[in-house]
């Protein structure tokens, strides 16, 4: 049985959104484990007054769905406040991509964990 990705997953994989680095990012985190074969780097730029995530960028080492979920979560989180972004669930990410193969659902969990880690680090600053 081959892995079947949705068109949306393939679209994000082949055309990742918010890829790269933010100049003067407020925070940069890396989450995930190379041993497991996937890792995401995420940077945030947050408006200090409104607490809105004004910019969010990622880079990643991982499979097609790792890249697609990282890309998708940046789209979901962008322009949300920190408090709103905290509420993003892995299901929101996977549903925004039209679902993930079961064996790849952990990719959306990693994407959420990376965002949470970034927010936590921002709040600790």
């Amino acid at each position: 049985m081959a892995l079947k990705y949705s068109d949306k997953v393939m679209d994000h994989f082949l055309h990742p959104r918010n890829l790269g680095d933010i100049k003067n990012a407020d925070v940069e985190v890396i989450e995930g484990n190379i041993q497991c074969g996937d890792q995401i780097q995420m940077q945030l730029k947050v408006n200090p007054e409104t607490k809105v995530i004004e910019d969010i960028k990622f880079k990643s080492f991982g499979c097609a769905s790792n890249i697609a979920t990282a890309s998708a979560i940046t789209e979901i989180a962008k322009d949300k406040t920190i408090e709103e972004a905290k509420k993003i669930k892995w299901k929101d990410v996977s549903e925004s991509l039209g679902g993930l193969p079961q064996i790849k659902e952990h990719c959306s969990i990693l994407a959420v964990e990376t965002l949470k880690k970034a927010i936590k680090e921002y709040e600790l600053k």
Partner: protein
């Protein structure tokens, strides 16, 4: 380039997973299905006709490895051959069983299933995938029932020094059985059964049909059947024979043996061309396994990127490859073979296997290299490593 325009063509570089059946093979199977549907066990004329087909196929396959007809047992493929060889040799005994860390899952998991009854040893390999002969020498003892070693590795193409290994085993204990899994190497390198007790071979890796394979058994008295049923296959593997597939298998063997030297040379030339070009033209790439290897196998690590992502990107360009082993492409762990070579995890996750066949052309490889360069560039831009 012109070739890239022919996008409706599929470039199949996953021949270690399976191969395209030859037209002659397809015709042979069809002929057997339509005109030779008898049961070889039946006593009437259709049975005799079917039994003749079975005998001829068995004879041809036996001769291809220098065996006698009554030493060939047909099975459903490499996995069953490996199960039968290992379980059938150990089921009535208690002792030590030895294999390596770079086996196909059908061996590794069969050994795992013996853990409660037997002492199991998994031999180390060096950085090129060759079995540690000193360790082998140390481990084979009077209690050793069987040593099982993959002839040519399915992921990295390392061809083990079978004669030396056999000598070591038999010197330490002449009663220890030596099994090789030759599913990848059969007809793609020389194979002599001298000093070997059991050999697994299969059909679909050599342009034959799926679902059929064979086990060479030097001394059938030492092998116990692991399934119960009729008397077929010398009482070692019950069930009505899959005659159309057996006929197709024999046809594939016949053609492969006739073309053996020519095809090996053709694949070796393409293999060298591809490896040299990729290592020279794409930075941070490493060949996994030895330079001199099974003629159709290429395994390369592309640093800083993950294999599945690269596979998917090549797939978008109609190029079919695999990450390590096709059997594990749905498993998230890094390849156990690459890790056994002592490589880092990120390198183990970033490997791609390109496996050639006699149908592979230089044009296909040139197109693949062009697409590879582009895909690697894109994915390295996405990666935060490197």
């Amino acid at each position: 380039m012109d070739y890239a325009k022919k996008m409706n063509e599929i470039i199949y570089l996953d021949n270690a997973a399976t191969t395209k059946p030859l037209q002659e093979v397809v015709d042979t199977i069809k002929e057997a299905q339509e005109n030779n549907y008898g049961n070889p066990s039946s006593l009437h004329l259709l049975g005799i006709q079917a039994d003749n087909l079975l005998s001829n196929a068995r004879k041809l396959i036996a001769e291809s490895i220098g065996a006698n007809e009554d030493q060939i047992i047909f099975t459903s493929g490499g996995t069953e051959s490996n199960n039968l060889a290992i379980k059938g040799s150990t089921i009535r005994k208690k002792g030590k069983v030895i294999t390596t860390k770079i086996e196909h899952p059908s061996i590794l998991n069969t050994f795992k299933s013996l853990e409660n009854n037997q002492e199991i040893v998994y031999l180390d390999v060096n950085e090129q995938g060759f079995v540690d002969l000193e360790q082998l020498k140390k481990e084979v003892d009077e209690n050793t029932i069987i040593v099982s070693i993959i002839h040519a590795n399915n992921e990295i193409g390392t061809i083990q020094l079978i004669e030396e290994i056999s000598e070591i085993i038999k010197q330490k204990n002449p009663k220890t059985l030596f099994h090789i899994d030759a599913c990848q190497s059969f007809t793609k390198t020389d194979l002599t059964i001298e000093g070997i007790d059991l050999v697994s071979i299969n059909s679909h890796k050599i342009h034959g049909p799926k679902g059929i394979g064979a086990l060479f058994v030097k001394n059938k008295k030492l092998l116990t059947q692991i399934e119960q049923g009729g008397h077929q296959e010398f009482n070692k593997r019950p069930g009505t024979e899959n005659l159309p597939a057996i006929a197709g298998f024999a046809k594939a063997v016949e053609i492969a043996m006739n073309e053996k030297d020519k095809n090996i040379q053709l694949m070796k030339n393409l293999q060298k061309y591809f490896i040299d070009k990729v290592l020279n033209e794409i930075t941070n790439t490493k060949l996994n396994g030895p330079k001199d290897r099974l003629c159709n196998n290429i395994n390369i690590t592309f640093s800083f990127i993950e294999g599945e992502a690269l596979l998917m990107m090549l797939n978008e360009k109609n190029i079919c490859v695999s990450t390590g082993s096709a059997c594990s492409s749905k498993v998230l762990e890094a390849s156990h073979v690459i890790l056994a070579l002592g490589k880092k995890y990120e390198d183990a996750h970033g490997t791609i296997r390109f496996s050639l066949s006699k149908f592979t052309t230089k044009e296909e490889l040139d197109y693949t290299i062009e697409q590879l360069k582009e895909a690697v560039k894109v994915l390295r831009k996405i990666s935060h490593l490197g």
